[in-house]
Symmetry: C2
Subunit: 379 residues, 2 copies
Amino acid sequence: MSKKTDEIAVFEGEDTLILDCGVKLEKFQIAYKTYGKLNRSKSNVVLICHALTGDQYVSETNPVTRKPGWWHHVVGPNKPIDTKKFFVICPNVLGGCMGTTGPKEIDYRTSKPYGLSFPVLTISDTVRAQEKLLNYLGIKDILCVTGGSMGGMQVLEWASKYPDRVFAAIPIAASASHSSQNIAFNEVARQAIMADPEWRSGNYIEENTRPTKGLAVARMTAHITYLSDKGLHNKFGRMLQDKEKIDFGFDADFQVESYLRHQGYTFVDRFDANSYLYLTRAMDYFDLAKDYDGNLSKAFSNSKTRFFVISFSSDWLYPTSESRKIVKALNIAGANVSFTEIKSDKGHDTFLLHEPEYINVLHGYLNSIAIENKIDNDN
Amino acid sequence: MSKKTDEIAVFEGEDTLILDCGVKLEKFQIAYKTYGKLNRSKSNVVLICHALTGDQYVSETNPVTRKPGWWHHVVGPNKPIDTKKFFVICPNVLGGCMGTTGPKEIDYRTSKPYGLSFPVLTISDTVRAQEKLLNYLGIKDILCVTGGSMGGMQVLEWASKYPDRVFAAIPIAASASHSSQNIAFNEVARQAIMADPEWRSGNYIEENTRPTKGLAVARMTAHITYLSDKGLHNKFGRMLQDKEKIDFGFDADFQVESYLRHQGYTFVDRFDANSYLYLTRAMDYFDLAKDYDGNLSKAFSNSKTRFFVISFSSDWLYPTSESRKIVKALNIAGANVSFTEIKSDKGHDTFLLHEPEYINVLHGYLNSIAIENKIDNDN
């Protein structure tokens, strides 16, 4: 194991990873970002797990999009995850496309991009890779692990597999397994990518093409599921895009069409199509109860971790009912669990937004953890 | 105007159609099917308007799919729309691909398929074309006009534009205008088709290709919206397709994936990609209130038509709230309206299914109309 730069950890030798599919990942690296300062007792670690299309740039300008980090209003000085108190770590997930080993990176054995020869991953693989990162950073205990959507799945996995290392876990807008509808939407996205002839059976990097149209369609479909019917209505309704009347054509007449096209075609500049396949597959495969004889509460047996489960009222992708299943399992396990459903009409995407009630409960909960663990600026 | 065969009506000369886009459709034909017998007083006509991917083969084996007609359990002897009592007419919609003039038909001016040179249509255009068909058949009065989804839009259009000719109207699982989310899903479907290089800017017939992959993705996306989350869960859950364990690959591991792929790839054998563009566009453009200063109730001013509005509890594509808007407008207009929400977990697709409560209310309502109008076998 050697340290390449401040923000990329390389694992090899004894630090290889046996993946759930059976493949031994012999060399891999994790790109990550940290914010704040690790205190002397190493007791102020907040691990942030990003969602499907997120990355490690939580709180600073993203080097690819040049936009503020995806959780910049949550992470920073005096913000809910206060970097004056906490040492924040956010790794790019395994299979991602922002520096961590994934299908777009070079396979050291062939000197070519992995493409579809990359092994199919699970959320559990991702979390075990993160565990190696924490060991590498000399960190044993996690004060709080949090994240939304696919990030929330990692939170649940962390809490169930490493209960002794996690003081608090905040899964946001997540579920303990994908529903049939979740899988269906992901499958459509994958089919859209694979239908694009420029995908070249996954070898597009080597063949110097890009399946941009397929990936854009995948993103557009997914984007609808991130918003609520009411949210779309409030934002766009049936308003036309820079015109008085419909055009009787197939250009974007309605604002919502223009918006979706924009979402699709900006996405392809920052995301790798094969990563999209691998990460959606990992989400579909996630089924925490299955690892415990189909009994989700067993995933949390004797857990001392404090849980705070958050859902959003208009989220129909990971609806509140999925969060309630988690809460119920935690209650059966006798775990310490709080739960809140935030009222919002902005759908699943709310976990990324500055929704005051949501920001407030996060802030309060993180504060209480800091006080209980005597975390302050002087630590 | 000349009659080509029993089931295709050709319109030309004075019977041209001025479309809402301004184009004069100088020659067009409508393919249609009839069931039952027109009575002497021509008072037993039931007009059935089909949905986006439906056709005129309501009650008999479909010549393309070799499957029973899409409403075979509703239309037939002793069935809710009893062909021993009623004379049923079902035309293929304008822009469709089962014999009525649409983008896949030959433009008589160029002797080539229309493709994207076909004018963009509205639901109003479709209904005015159907009105010409009824005139051609010598029929003035419609005892009942009914249909689900896009068919329901035509029902509303018929009732608002020709109130004196419609005794009863039954819009099923419909809305008076597409929501932002409806438009968004249709836009994704169109983008999927147009992203397929085999679409060839709409000229695929001439160039002897077919955008099958794009059309399949479009259909898969739409299909998810036709089913409910709970319905998918009950039918498929997370069950695997002919295997004990996940495959760690991108083939169809889950039954729902296999099902969706099947839906996508069988659809392309029976439907024209350009028709899909034109019909989804017509649905997106439909906005009945807009024709009446934004006041939906004015669409039904002084209407003597009896309305029966039907919605399904788990339909999230055309939710009950949309039907309630129609009912409210009808109430404001002082119209005769009944409304029922059928409990079902099968989503929007319920309008095509043998859901007993739904079949029963249809049967009862049609019976009452027949009795009120003294329609019986002897007529």
